[in-house]
Every structure is written in structure tokens, then in C-alpha cells.
């Protein structure tokens, strides 16, 4: 199975493969693995570096990303409050300076339920599709989605509580999201209602911010409580079909997190902060099949791994623009 097909399989819920077979590893990667295994200088340097590492992480990308989520959502709110018609509508569908935008998953639900595609919706969907192909697919999740921000705060709380034994992370099978994606698609077709929209925390939050809060926020609060005490980042990891929709878009996106095997010291920090650590499987010792690897389509391009990586082995890259690509 090639790397692309494998990354799709993993996004849909497949377990990441165990250590790759020797024939699948490039010669360059092999020699780097070999060097790391045998070179005493490298090992000594690694041990020394680990001791000297600061405990605090950078928050460069975190700050940029939180700013992005807040600014994008504030644009919707302020544009309506002050009637400037810059961004009209909400995250499910909008006009941005007059141009139609439609959230891909919301548009998909409408198309499946209504079974008729109005030209404006098609224009909005294609516009947004192209936009997120350019911007990295699931980067929608971590750079725009308001629920993502709340879930991040819930996650921080969860980790604090878990450290004191007050919360446990009950993991689930990631294939659940794929299954639910299919179930909600079928439900939309069969019932003729946009069934998923009635529980989508993204739509609920976006509308609540713009048009005022309502009862629906209770559902969102319930989800957050579940994530704080019972299952870390459960909605984004195991349930949200919006994430999978943008994940598909991300398969062909040039924006990705690039991994450099040669400089990596395999601390594993990146996988502990990552919401979708299966995309960083190759950072495990001897797992990389090439000297440069790319995080798969399920990667939300949040940059947490870039921030925590002590050796700068993970970095954002735009394919075709960077020299190394």
C-alpha cells in the first residue's frame, strides 16, 4: 500500500502500521536509522540535549491559531452587529464581501437532504472547497472552528484533572467517525432532513455568537463536560463528520507539516500534544520510511507539534514553494 492510500486508511480509522518492513524504507532513511542506532556521539548528544531541554514549550503557532479562530468568528459577529456587510451569515454559509461561501459539510447535508442544488450553493461550495485545498483541509478545524477552541480549553482542563487522577481518558475507536459520517449521509438522504445539523456544535456555536445564545448551548456544554471528565477531545477525534469532510479536502492540499528524520531525537513530545497522533506515527524510532515525511490528511495543521518539537524536526511547509519539496 502506498503512503497516500495508507494515510487515507489511517484517517478513516485504521490502526497505524507497525514498524515498516526493510524493503519499504528508503536507502537514505535506512542510513539515518543506522547512524542513530550506532553513532555513540549522536547518542551522547541526545542524552545531553534531553537533560538540558526547557520544560516550557513555545506557543508561537498556538497564539497565531487562537487569534485566527477569534478573529474569524469575531468578523462574523461584528459584521452583523455593525451592519458592515463584510461577512454575512454564519459558519454554515455566508457571503464574504458578497461572495458566496458554504461550509462543505453543511452544504453536503443540504444537497443530500434536499436533493436539489441551487447554483449559489454550488458556487459557495466550490469556492470553499478551493479555499481549503489551498489552506490545508482540516486547518478549518484548528484555525476557524469555534468548538475546537473550547475543546482545546476543555482538553487542558482534562489533562490537569487527569494528572491528579480526577478524570480518565476513555479512548474510542477512530473508525466511529467514518461510520457516523456514512450514517449521517444516509440519514440525510432517507429522512430528507439535515439530521446532523441539529447537533452540530459548530453551527450551534457560530449562530449563538452571531444571533444570540439559546437552549442549544446546553448540548455543546454537555459535550465539553464529557470531554473534560470522560474522553479527551472525543467530539473532534471520534465523531465530527465536518472534520472528516475537511480531511478529504486535505488529501490534496499543499499545506502540510513536514518531518525531518535526520534531526529528530524521538522524544515523542509531538505525539503527546497532538489531537490526532496517528498522523505522527513516523516520528517513532525507526518508523520513518523516508528522510522527509508528511503528516497525513487527518492532520489539522494546528502546529502544536511544531511548537513543542525540541529539535525543529517538524515544520510547516507548502509543497511546491519550499526548496526541500
Amino acid at each position: 500500500m502506498n503512503a497516500f492510500a495508507n494515510s487515507l486508511r489511517v484517517m478513516l480509522g485504521g490502526a497505524p502500521k507497525a514498524r515498516p518492513k526493510a524493503k519499504d524504507v528508503s536507502d537514505e532513511a535506512k542510513s539515518i536509522h543506522q547512524f542513530k542506532r550506532t553513532d555513540p556521539d549522536f547518542q551522547a548528544r541526545m542524552v545531553a540535549a534531553r537533560k538540558a531541554r526547557p520544560t516550557h514549550h513555545r506557543t508561537t503557532w498556538l497564539k497565531r491559531r487562537w487569534a485566527s479562530i477569534i478573529i474569524v468568528n469575531a468578523l462574523f459577529v461584528l459584521s452583523f452587529q455593525f451592519d458592515v456587510q463584510l461577512v454575512e451569515g454564519s459558519l454554515t454559509a455566508s457571503r464574504v464581501i458578497g461572495f458566496h461561501f458554504a461550509d462543505l459539510n453543511a452544504a453536503l447535508q443540504v444537497m443530500l437532504a434536499y436533493k436539489d442544488i441551487v447554483i449559489n450553493l454550488l458556487i459557495g461550495t466550490v469556492t470553499v472547497l478551493l479555499l481549503w485545498v489551498l489552506l490545508g483541509g482540516r486547518s478549518f478545524c484548528s484555525w476557524v472552528c469555534p468548538y475546537h477552541l473550547l475543546a482545546e480549553w476543555a482538553e487542558m482542563l482534562h489533562l490537569k484533572l487527569a494528572a491528579q487522577g480526577l478524570a480518565t481518558d476513555f479512548t474510542m475507536h477512530r473508525g466511529l467517525r467514518t461510520l457516523l459520517y456514512a450514517v449521517f449521509a444516509v440519514l440525510a438522504v432517507v429522512t430528507g432532513y439535515t439530521v446532523f445539523e441539529s447537533i452540530s456544535p459548530v453551527g450551534i456555536l457560530s449562530r449563538a455568537m452571531i444571533y444570540g445564545p439559546g437552549l442549544a448551548l446546553v448540548w455543546v456544554a454537555g459535550l465539553l463536560v464529557f470531554e473534560v471528565f470522560i474522553s479527551r477531545r472525543a467530539w473532534c477525534r471520534y465523531i465530527c463528520p465536518i472534520g472528516l469532510t475537511y480531511g478529504f479536502v486535505g488529501t490534496v492540499s499543499p499545506v502540510h507539516v513536514r518531518y525531518n528524520l535526520a534531526t529528530c531525537e524521538h522524544d515523542g513530545e509531538c505525539r503527546t500534544v497532538c489531537m490526532v497522533p496517528h498522523v505522527l506515527e513516523f516520528t517513532k524510532k525507526t518508523y520513518a520510511t523516508k528522510a522527509k515525511m508528511s503528516a497525513g490528511p487527518d492532520c489539522t495543521r494546528c502546529g502544536m507539534c511544531v511548537d513543542v518539537c525540541p529539535t525543529n524536526s517538524l515544520a510547516f511547509e507548502i509543497k511546491g514553494l519550499s526548496k526541500s519539496a
Partner: protein
Amino acid sequence: MATAKKPPKPPAKAPTKPSRKQRKARREFLRSAAAGIAVVGAALMGFLPVIKEWTKRLRPPGAIEEHAYLAACIKCGQCVQVCPVEAIKLGDLDEGFGIGAAYIDARAQACDFSCDAVQCVLACPTGALSHDVDVKEQVRIGLARLDRPNACLARQGKGFKGPARGADFDGLHRYVEVDRWTPIRVADHPYNLDLCDLCARECPIEGAITIERLHVDLTDLRGSPVVFEPCVGCGMCEMMCPVDPPAIVVDVGRTWEDV
């Protein structure tokens, strides 16, 4: 090796206990199944209010048939943003699949077509508000009906003085004779009528409601609102009716064929 004599089978043992890893995977599977069922179940709860018609809503002008409307509406609220009298609101969780879908509470704020060109229809990106509707006269979202004839002031021969819905009413209306472009508060526009005809007077559709005299005797003022086919169901009559609860109401989704 296959032909080699095997040692006698050990006595049947209880099946081997699943390993820790297997048990973990099994628990994870069960949790996932439970979570999946809970999520789908929660979403399907949206059926209840829709089927039971717990909240039967007057939809904005141009709205297509209710089931198709809920399918087509992408729940974005662009119609809300363009309405000059802020008549359009969005459904909440208790409306099930109607969550985020636009509706009008006519008694609180009806559509008086202040925008002239059905702006909400133009704003709708999905055709939930049909673009076949170009002018207000083509709208059919309901039909007015005299619900409590005995409460109607006109039928009692009574006039009306003061603001139609009291001084605290926040509803807006564009009075062309006051300001051609900007709607003002109904509370800031008091009336002084010998015979109440507010429903007919403020109806934005020509020929939809008239007050028909009840008696040939010209000294007897009494009259009754009568709704005719041009009625589009905007609900202005329901908003303006000064008695509470209103004597005249809009029946959601009713058409002239149902009469």
C-alpha cells in the same frame, strides 16, 4: 509431523481468558458503539418536534413547503441579517431539525415588506426561500383568519385611540407617510380611529383584507375584517391587532385552496 502421534488431549479446560489487550479493545469497541448510538440518537431526537408539530412556525417570505424547507435551509441566518424590521429569528434546540432554521413570530414582529424586494429571498443561498418569488404579492406563507370574532373591535363598532400595541411594544413598521425608507416603532405612531380597522389599514398587500359593513343601516358602524385571496400570510394584521390575544391570526401554511 502431521502423522506423528499426538499426546492425548488434556481435559477440556475453560476457554482461555482474553488477554489484557483483547479486553481493552473489547471495552473500547463497546464504548465506541455506545457513543455512536448516543450521538445518532441525539440527532434523531430532532424528529420529535417536527413530526409532532410542537412548534409550527411561520417561515419567511418565499419559504418552500415545510419538509423541503427544513432540508434546503442551511441554517446560516443570512435572511436574518438583511431584514429591516428584524422579523426573522432562528429556531432553537427545541425545534429539532428546525434548529437554526428561520421563522417569523408575527405577533412580535411581522414582515411588513419594508424592504420592498423580498431581501430575505435574495439572501438565501440554498433556495429554501424560493427565488421564484420576486415581489411580495407572490408570497404564500400562510393565510389570515378572524380567530376571535367576538373580540374584534370593529365588529363591536368600537374605535381605537393610542399606540396599537401599547407604549412598550417593540415592533417596527414602515409608515410610508412618516418615512418612506426607515421603519419606526409602532408604539411611536398612535392612532385615533372612529372604527378600528388596523388590520386592513396596515396590511401591506392590496385587496387582502377589508372591513365589510355588517349592517345596511349607515348609522351602525359595525364591520368585520374579511380576508381575500391576495392575502400572503405575512402576519401584519396579527401584529397590529390591538386586542390581546389577537382577534385575527395567520394560519401557518394554509392556502386559499384550503378555505
